[in-house]
Subunit: 581 residues, 2 copies
C-alpha cells in the first residue's frame, strides 16, 4: 500500500508513530515559517505541517502543491498546538519528512467542498470530481449499505438471489422497451427488462420458494423530472404466501434497513385501503407524517347559492392548524399557487377561524357564520385555524387538494426528512380506465390477481374489481409495490382478454408464462422496491440522481462520457440496420 494509515484514523493515541499517508491536497496555508496542508482521502482529513526552519527545501516544495494534487507523505504524528475538536484527527498533525507528488491536478472547475460553487451541469460533466465531495460520496455509501443490508436480511431468511437475464423479449404492453438488435439473428431484437416480473414468476413455478434480486431495469420513457432510463429495483417473490405474509416480511425488511443504516426505529406501519387513501389524502401515496386529512364538505356547502360549489362534484376542505393569521398576501400567494398549471385549480376559498369564535371567509356573501361553523366542525377547525377549500370534479379536486395539503405541510414544517412515516396502501383497483386508448389497463400489471370475491364484477363493473395489490409508501413517496399473482392459466387468459389482448397476442407475448402455469404453478406473490427512491428518501434528498453514481440527464444523456453517440456504419451493417434520415 502507498500508505500505512488513512487520512481519517490518526488520533492522539498515535503520537510519535511514523506514518505514510496518501491523498489529495484539500487546501494549504502558508504562514511564513510553517506551511500547513490538509490532506484528504475518503476517510477524513489529516493536517500536514512543513517547517521552513527545520526543512527548508521540503517546505518550499509543499508551497508548490495545488488543490487536488495527489501526494504521498512520510512523517511523525505530533500533537497540535491549536486543536480542532470538530474532526476526529483534530488533535494531531504530521511533521513531514518526505513528500512525493503522485499526480498533479489542474484547478478543478468547481470547489471540492460540501457546499460547492459548481452548478448541476458542470458537476455532471465532471462527475468524477463531484464524487469527491463528502455529501455525494456519503449518498453512495448509504446506497451501498442499503443494498448489502437488504441482501443480508433476505439471505438470512433463505431468500435466494437469482440473476435474471437482461437480454429478453420485447412486450409492447406497458411502457416502451429499450431494444437491442441481434447480430446473430438478423432482423430480430432483444429488449431490456422493465422488470424481471415474468422471470421471477417462472422461478416460483420452478420451486425456488423465495427469490430476490437487486437488479437494473430499463424504461424508454420521456423522462420526467426525477426519472432515469435505467433504475434499480429490489425485486422479491415468495411462494405459498398470502398478502399478509408479504406485507409482514417486507415491513420487517424496511424496519431493519432504517434501523441498521439510519439508526431509526420505525414504530407504526399502518395499512390503509386505496379508497381510504384517496378519500382522506386525495392520493394513493399519502404523506402521513402529518394529519390534515381532506374533508368532504359537500353536505354543508352545496345549495347555498354559491354556483362554484353547486356545480362541483366534490368540495374538499383541509384544516391548516394555527394559520388563521395568514395575511391577505400569503393567501393570495397560496391561491396563485393552486392556480398554476401544474396544480390546475380554478381558485381557492378560505375560512379564518378567529380567536373570538367567529369566522371570516372569502365567501361570506354566500355562507353565514352557522354555515361556516359546520365547515369548521367537519374539518375539526378550532379558533386560530385556517380552513382551505377547493372544489371541482372528483379526480381533479382530489389531486389538487392533495398538492395543497403537501404544500401546507411543507409550510408548517411537518415534512421533516428526519422523520419516517411508512404505511401500506392495500386493495388497489385491478384496472384503471385509460381515456386515450379507451380501454381498461392493468393498474399494476397484467399478472396481478383480482380479489376472488370481486371476480364476478369483471364483466359488469371492471372498474370496481379490487386486486390483491399493495404499495409501500414512505413520506409521501411510493417506494415499493406488489401483488399476489395469478397462478392459474385460465384466469391469466381471462385477464389478458379484459386487457384487450387477442388470444394470439397473449400467447405470442406471454405464452411461455401461461404454458408454465400448466405444470404446477404454486400460489405466489411478491413486490419490488425502487432502490433509487428508497435511498433518496432515507438520505433526505429530493432527487434520485443524488443517489446514482453516474446518472443521465433529462434527455437520457450521460454528459460525462457523451453517450449515446453515433456508431460506425460497419456496426450498423453487421446488425443489418439502416438509419432513417
Amino acid at each position: 500500500m502507498l500508505r500505512s494509515h488513512t487520512c481519517g484514523e490518526l488520533n492522539i493515541s498515535h503520537l510519535k508513530t511514523k506514518v505514510t499517508l496518501s491523498g489529495w491536497v484539500q487546501k494549504s496555508r502558508d504562514l511564513g515559517g510553517m506551511t500547513f496542508v490538509d490532506l484528504r482521502d475518503r476517510y477524513g482529513i489529516t493536517q500536514l505541517v512543513f517547517n521552513m526552519e527545520t526543512n527548508n527545501s521540503l517546505c518550499l516544495e509543499a508551497r508548490k502543491l495545488g488543490r487536488e494534487f495527489v501526494i504521498q507523505i512520510k512523517g511523525d504524528v505530533i500533537e497540535r498546538s491549536s486543536k480542532n475538536k470538530n474532526i476526529p484527527t483534530g488533535e494531531i498533525e504530521i511533521e513531514i519528512s518526505e513528500l512525493i507528488v503522485l499526480n498533479s491536478s489542474k484547478t478543478p472547475p468547481f470547489t471540492i467542498e460540501d457546499k460547492t460553487d459548481g452548478g448541476d451541469d458542470l458537476r455532471m460533466k465532471y462527475r468524477y470530481l463531484d464524487l469527491r465531495r463528502n455529501p455525494v460520496r456519503e449518498n453512495m455509501i448509504l446506497r451501498s449499505k442499503v443494498a448489502i443490508e437488504t441482501r443480508k436480511y433476505l439471505a438470512d431468511l433463505d431468500f435466494i438471489e437469482v440473476e435474471t437475464p437482461v437480454l429478453i423479449k420485447s412486450t409492447p404492453e406497458g411502457a416502451r422497451d429499450f431494444v437491442v438488435p441481434s447480430r446473430m439473428n438478423e432482423g430480430q431484437f432483444y429488449a431490456l427488462p422493465q422488470s424481471p416480473q415474468t422471470f421471477k414468476q417462472l422461478l416460483m413455478v420452478g420451486g425456488f420458494d423465495k427469490y430476490f434480486q437487486i437488479v437494473k431495469c430499463f424504461r424508454d420513457e420521456d423522462l420526467r423530472a426525477d426519472r432515469q432510463p435505467e433504475f434499480t429495483q429490489i425485486d422479491c417473490e415468495m411462494s405459498f404466501v398470502e398478502q399478509e405474509d408479504i406485507l409482514n416480511t417486507f415491513e420487517n425488511l424496511t424496519r431493519h434497513l432504517l434501523k441498521t443504516v439510519m439508526n431509526v426505529e420505525l414504530k407504526d406501519f399502518p395499512r390503509m385501503t386505496f379508497d381510504e387513501a384517496m378519500r382522506d389524502y386525495g392520493n394513493d401515496k399519502p404523506d402521513i407524517r402529518f394529519d390534515m386529512k381532506l374533508k368532504n364538505i359537500n353536505a354543508v356547502s352545496k345549495n347555498k347559492g354559491f354556483k362554484v360549489f353547486d356545480d362541483a362534484e366534490l368540495v374538499l376542505a383541509i384544516n391548516a392548524n394555527g394559520c388563521a393569521g395568514y395575511t391577505r398576501k400569503q393567501l393570495d400567494k397560496l391561491t396563485d399557487w393552486v392556480k398554476r398549471p401544474q396544480i390546475g385549480a380554478k381558485g381557492m376559498i378560505y375560512v379564518k377561524c378567529n380567536d373570538d369564535g367567529s369566522y371570516k371567509s372569502s365567501v361570506d356573501k354566500f355562507f353565514n357564520q352557522e354555515d361556516l361553523a359546520q365547515w369548521a366542525q367537519t374539518t375539526d377547525a378550532k379558533p386560530g385555524d385556517l380552513i382551505l377549500v377547493l372544489s371541482g370534479d372528483t379526480n381533479a379536486v382530489q389531486k389538487q387538494m392533495s398538492e395543497l395539503r403537501l404544500e401546507m405541510g411543507e409550510q408548517l414544517g411537518f415534512r421533516d426528512p428526519n422523520v419516517f412515516a411508512p404505511l401500506w396502501v392495500v386493495d388497489f383497483p385491478l384496472l384503471e380506465w385509460d381515456e386515450e386508448s379507451a380501454r381498461y389497463h392493468a393498474m399494476h400489471h397484467p399478472f396481478t390477481s383480482p380479489k376472488p370475491e370481486d371476480l364476478n364484477k369483471l364483466d359488469t363493473a371492471p372498474g370496481e374489481v379490487k386486486a390483491n395489490a399493495y404499495d409501500m409508501v414512505l413520506n409521501g413517496s411510493e417506494i415499493g409495490g406488489g401483488s399476489i399473482r395469478i397462478h392459474d392459466r385460465d384466469l391469466q387468459k381471462l385477464m389478458f382478454q379484459h386487457l384487450g389482448f387477442t388470444d394470439e397476442e397473449a400467447q405470442e407475448q406471454f405464452g411461455f408464462l401461461m404454458n408454465a402455469f400448466e405444470y404446477g404453478a404454486p400460489p405466489h406473490g411478491g413486490l419490488a422496491f425502487g432502490l433509487d427512491r428508497l435511498c433518496s428518501i432515507m438520505g433526505g434528498a429530493e432527487s434520485i440522481r443524488d443517489f446514482i453514481a453516474f446518472p443521465k440527464n433529462n434527455s437520457g444523456r450521460d454528459v460525462m462520457i457523451d453517450a449515446p453517440s453515433r456508431i460506425d456504419t460497419l456496426q450498423l451493417d453487421e446488425l443489418s440496420l439502416k438509419l432513417k434520415s
Copy 2:
C-alpha cells in the same frame, strides 16, 4: 402462509404436531389400503399417508393426484413403520386429514429427478421445470451464496458497492458491443458495457478508494461452446495499492469463498510468471492439480537424423507417470486425439520406460537407448513411465502439449473436481501481436500499465514489455484477471498511440478518462472475477450454463421465451431505424 412447516424440516421431534404443508407431488404409490404421496418443496420431501380404511374419500382423492400437482395438506406427524435413514424427514410421515389441490399439472416433458431423462434442448425450453431439479437448484443456491459471501467479505473491508451504468458509449476497441438505439437522440446509440472498466477507474479518480460491484457485462461475440452474450463479473478496484496488495486481498477473498461456501481450506496460492507458465505448462492458465510439466528436449532430440524434430522449433515432452503399460491401441487413440483439428498436431512420439530399464519408442530407428535415457532424465521418467513427445512451432506445440497434458491428467484421474488448486499468473506481456490487423493489441486492455522498467522497450521491442497484470487461475481456468492501471494522462496517450489510435480517436472514445487523469488521479489497480466460471468450478461442473438460471443457447437465443424476436414497425419507426433487407 399456506404452510406451517416446509417439506424438509419435520422429524421425530415433531411427533403428534398438527401441520400444514404445501408442495409438489413427487410421486405416489397406491398400496391398496394405503396411498403414499411424496410431497416435495425446495427444502425436502415429506411422505404423506392416506388411509383407505379411516378416510376413504380422501384416499380416493389422493389417488387422482398426478406428478407435479401442487397441493396443500393438513395432518398429524406420525412415526413411520419403515424408516428411511437417508433423508432428514425419513423417520416420520403425515397422516392426512385434509387435502386441497392448489394447482394441477400436465405430465412434465421430462422427469423431475436428479438424473432426468430430458435432453438439453427440452430442459432449456422448459427451464422452469428443470429448475425444480435438485442439482440445478443447488447450483443456483451455490451461486447465490458465492455472491452474498463476496459482498459481505468486501463490505467488511470497507469496499463500497457502486452500480455503474448499463447504457454507456460504444467503443470499438476490443470485442463487439451490443448497442441500444436511443429514441430521444435520433441516430445515436448506447452500448451495453463489456465491463465497467472506465467507470471504476473514474470512481478511483473520484476518491472512492475501494470499489466493487457484482455486475452484468455483455459481449456480442460469435459464441463459442461455453460463452454467453451476458455474463457476470465480480468487479473490483482499489487506490493507493501496489500489485501485491491486490493479490493478497483477492487471494483472501477466494480463500473465504472456498471456506464458507464449500468448506475447503485453500493452502498454497503460488505465483508464477507468464513466461514460467508458458514454459512449464504451455498455457497461461495451468491446471496445477498435477505436475507433469512440459520439458524442452531440443538439446537431446535434435540432430539425430529425425527430420520432424530437426525441422521443429521446439520439441516438448511430458512424463505420463506409470503409463508404460499403455497398449498399442491406447497409444493410437491418443495419437488420433492429438491429430484432431481442435488440437492440430501432426503426430505423437512416445517412449515406454520399461521395468528393466530399457526404452521402447516409436522412433527407435533414429534414437538409441542412450538418447532415450537422456529424454527420460530430462522428463524425470522412471521405469514404468511413458514419455509423450510433440514438436513443431513454439506457439503451436505449446498449445498442443498443454492439451495433451490435460488429457493425460484426465486419464490418470488427476483432475478431481473436489480438489482446488489456485495460483496467480503474473508479469503478463503488455501487448500481443495480432496477425489479422498486423498490429499490437493490448493483451488485457489499453488501461493496463507497463512495468516502469520496461517502458524504454515500448518503441524498440513492444512484444517484450511486461505489464503489471495478473490472472487468478483455478483448476486450469482463468477465474479472474486484472492489473495496475495507468493513472497518468501522458502515459495513457502513449499507450493509445502504440495501439494504433490517432490522438483524435483516443480523445473521441476515451477523452473523458484522459481528462479525468488531469485532475489528480491516484495510483490504482484492480481485477475482475468471472462469477459464472468461478461458480462452475466451485460446483464441479463443466459448463457455466449450469450456473445461470436462464441461459442462452449457442445462437444467443433464449428458447424458453423465444428471444430475440421481431418487433413492431412502430417501434422501429420511433427509433428512426429501418431493417436492411
